[in-house]
Symmetry: C2
Subunit: 223 residues, 2 copies
């Protein structure tokens, strides 16, 4: 199992037993999320912007309009922090103090650079499209030159990272166990609702398959 | 309708028609989320940490262990960026380029200070507990002195903020409308699963009511 180095930046200090530094745990969290929150520093101030991400081995990928502030900042090689969080449940304890949440979060650090080589750029776009719906790339119109020019792809080699995970029931104090209230976990899961067809559809086509859990496809290989 | 002032920090530059600066839109996004992502700058580097939040009028509240790095940094009055995001759906277009997501996000800026006055601190804790499950505060054991000491409550008056919202179907190019593929929106909604009772339960108690949508209670007033 490969681990990220522990540095002051990525070391989990609060409840360190919930921390993980291995690639497997961290990448499972990253790959099963559609979006991440990107943190950056501009003029000394923090900014946090949600965006879609993809992963290629030990590199995170972002994409967006070439005019976007986030993409320009990321492409310029400034330090970035990318955080992915799954909220898995509310943890209801007998005491106010022991209420909590079940979650899986990953915090990754790195600096980005622009991917400009056309084939690499196209492969990255395929990754993003396939992440939404596996098989989608082959079914839709490919990007043309104008669209490619309007899109930035930024690659961020992951310098270090950590995960923090809470699972399981509330941790109540022994002396609270008889408190007359229900205690336990209310699980939370994102679910797909019924697909809504585009109002400008000109014919009927088969719906994308939703027979899978709502979880984007992981670190697949570009064909 | 009250609006936050537009500054360079909070102005939405990409697709400004999706932006909103009014309290109503922004607070609806903030209040309907269990967690936010807090951005901060330490030693010039960005950090993004997920945490639970609550709101009291134009003030955001964070809480956590008094030993937590996030809480100490927030309490020290450094600039913070708090971002709340709801992913509402995948937007599947006929072209790769026009794929998108439906979302509601809010980005808020401010500086925190510690709430130390016992009654105000207790009222804030009530806010957090009631946000998880309305009615919970009255049913569970109240915080004792040791627990109060171990907890930091940080109040962050909101200096400025913005929201960005995408709703609706894909925006395909006219010439792509006959492309032979399904296009539309796959809505995503978080759902509660069946409650899991604590294994150390000593008696049976009524389950918390889940007859409501999964949406924390908004900006309610402390009794």
């Amino acid at each position: 199992m490969t681990h990220f180095p522990q540095t002051p930046a990525n070391s989990v200090k609060r409840v360190p037993k919930r921390a993980a530094y291995d690639h497997e745990t961290i990448y499972a969290i990253v790959d099963s999320a559609y979006i991440c929150h990107v943190g950056l520093v501009q003029d000394g101030r923090p900014f946090v912007i949600p965006t879609i991400h993809a992963r290629d081995g030990d590199t995170l990928l972002l994409h967006g309009a070439s005019t976007s502030r986030l993409m320009r900042h990321a492409a310029a090689g400034h330090e970035l922090c990318l955080t992915v969080t799954h909220l898995d449940g509310l943890v209801l304890a007998r005491s106010v103090f022991n209420h909590s949440m079940n979650y899986r979060s990953a915090v990754l650090f790195g600096r980005g650079h622009l991917i400009e080589e056309p084939a690499a750029k196209m492969a990255a776009l395929e990754r993003f499209t396939e992440k939404l719906i596996p098989g989608r790339w082959a079914e839709v119109r490919q990007p043309n030159e104008t669209e490619m020019k309007a899109t930035y792809i930024v690659a961020i080699p992951i310098e270090t990272a950590s995960a923090k995970v809470r699972v399981g029931p509330p941790n109540d104090e022994e002396e609270d166990l008889d408190w007359p209230v229900w205690a336990g976990v209310l699980p939370i899961t994102p679910q797909f609702g019924a697909p809504i067809s585009a109002p400008d559809a000109t014919a009927e086509y088969p719906l994308p398959s939703l027979s899978r859990p709502i979880r984007p496809r992981g670190n697949w290989r570009v064909r």
